[in-house]
């Protein structure tokens, strides 16, 4: 194989495994070195292309589109912003980006890829559990609630605020398959407020959830994580204070 042909084929596909290409690569030390350099560059290109951050909660949002009612083509498509709105959005995005860059310390406070995966799993769990949560009407006792929480390695201290809260749902959850978590639901002023406790690796930083329906936070808490989620209109600060002051890990 001529050198020119060899290099063209290498550049088109550095991992070409056909016999004639491999034989051509082994024909000289120079060619072997050239191909190794190219394969190393290709590995870096591959890693760079795959290092794009996938938005948190995207999988759950895509799944929520799967409504049998939207099967027919007559359904109104998702709203698409006008070109002008897009330009404004891009400009706003640039301003925000610059703001982030200018702000000290924020680069290190970004959630990692593992944190985002955890976030996506939480949101997916929420959408799966929502029908059960919305239909829950019980008024559970502290004993019933702690039975679930203790199975997940935690404990909720008896407190007047907790006693007066209406906790209508308590169940174990499998957001992290190998670790039993606890999911309790309080009756909020605008709907259900979920608290999820999981004794897994704490997220690298506290961060807000990103979802069209739910708002809330993922909070690294001791040797695990607390997640507090509610409807967009709900004020979650008091629930966060209540849980962080009364919950503890006991394992």
């Amino acid at each position: 194989m001529e050198d020119f042909e060899f290099r063209k084929r290498g550049l088109a596909n550095p991992n070409d495994s056909s016999e004639d290409f491999i034989a051509a690569a082994q024909a000289s030390a120079e060619r072997t070195q050239w191909l190794q350099d190219l394969q190393a560059l290709d590995a870096r290109v591959h890693a760079a292309a795959l290092s794009i951050v996938v938005p948190a909660g995207l999988a759950a949002r895509l799944k929520s589109q799967a409504d049998p009612a939207t099967t027919t083509a007559s359904v109104t498509p998702l709203p698409v912003r006008s070109r002008y709105q897009r330009y404004y959005a891009m400009a706003a995005s640039l301003v925000i980006t610059l703001g982030v860059i200018m702000s000290s310390g924020l680069w290190t406070a970004r959630p990692s890829a593992a944190d985002i995966k955890f976030h996506d799993d939480i949101i997916g769990h929420m959408y799966r559990e929502t029908p059960r949560i919305d239909n829950a009407t019980a008024d559970l006792s502290m004993e019933e609630i702690n039975q679930v929480i203790e199975a997940a390695g935690g404990h909720l201290r008896e407190d007047e605020r907790i006693k007066s809260a209406h906790i209508k749902f308590a169940n174990d959850c499998n957001v992290v398959p190998s670790i039993k978590g606890a999911h309790i639901v309080l009756e909020g002023t605008k709907g259900s407020v979920s608290v999820i406790m999981i004794h897994n690796s704490p997220v690298s930083t506290e961060f807000d959830v990103n979802d069209p329906r739910f708002q809330g936070k993922i909070i690294p808490f001791g040797q695990g994580n607390l997640v507090i989620l509610g409807e967009k209109e709900e004020s979650l600060e008091s629930y966060e204070t209540l849980i962080t002051e009364t919950f503890e890990w006991v394992i």
Binding site: L11, A12, V53, V54, A66, P68, S204
Partner: protein
């Protein structure tokens, strides 16, 4: 015995959700490299999967799902956005994952690579990203882009040739291809 409509709906939903779980990250990343803007990419992916959900019955073989989704995505991009806006050049910094294990020089290297990939002409970047992200063969890329195989291979070697010149400017074995050089498949 035929399945009930409810069972059909449930199976369709399960099939769709499996498709999302398996492919949404690759589809998003390819969308990002097409439009180089995270908001546009997310909209594109949502449109793509909505269309996929509506026409899921037309997908006969799940092994072809990735090529099918990438093709839908390209059509949606052409339909919704491509003609309305100029090509963006800069990559959004916040779109690059900051992996904990990366040293500062590795992060810098990744940013330089992002810039270099982003600056490739669209005709070169497209097949390269289909090969790198999608893992498609030249023939599959040719079908997705509706080009012949030689054209795809020509664009791939030019794309890598350009990247190589950025990162190995002093290499002894230079890739001195001209714009007239094409990939002539050996028969």
């Amino acid at each position: 015995m035929s399945d009930t409509p409810v069972l059909d709906d449930r199976r369709k939903k399960e099939r769709y959700e499996a498709l999302v779980d398996a492919l949404y990250q690759d589809v998003y990343r390819y969308a990002y490299w097409i439009c180089k803007n995270s908001a546009l990419a997310e909209d594109l992916v949502q449109e793509t999967f909505l269309r996929a959900w509506r026409s899921l019955d037309s997908l006969q073989n799940d092994k072809a799902a990735k090529a099918w989704l990438f093709t839908i995505l390209r059509r949606e991009n052409a339909r919704l956005y491509e003609r309305y806006r100029p090509e963006l050049v800069d990559i959004e910094e916040q779109s690059i994952a900051d992996s904990d294990e990366n040293e500062p020089d590795q992060r810098m290297d990744r940013r330089l690579l992002h810039e270099a990939i982003g600056k490739l002409e669209k005709d070169y970047r497209d097949p390269l990203m289909l090969q790198v992200i999608g893992g498609f063969s030249g023939k599959e890329i040719a079908e997705i882009l509706q080009l012949n195989n030689n054209t795809v291979m020509t664009r791939l070697f030019r794309a890598r040739g350009k990247l190589r010149r950025v990162f190995f400017p002093d290499s002894e074995l230079t890739d001195d291809f001209s714009e007239d050089d094409t990939f002539d498949e050996q028969s």
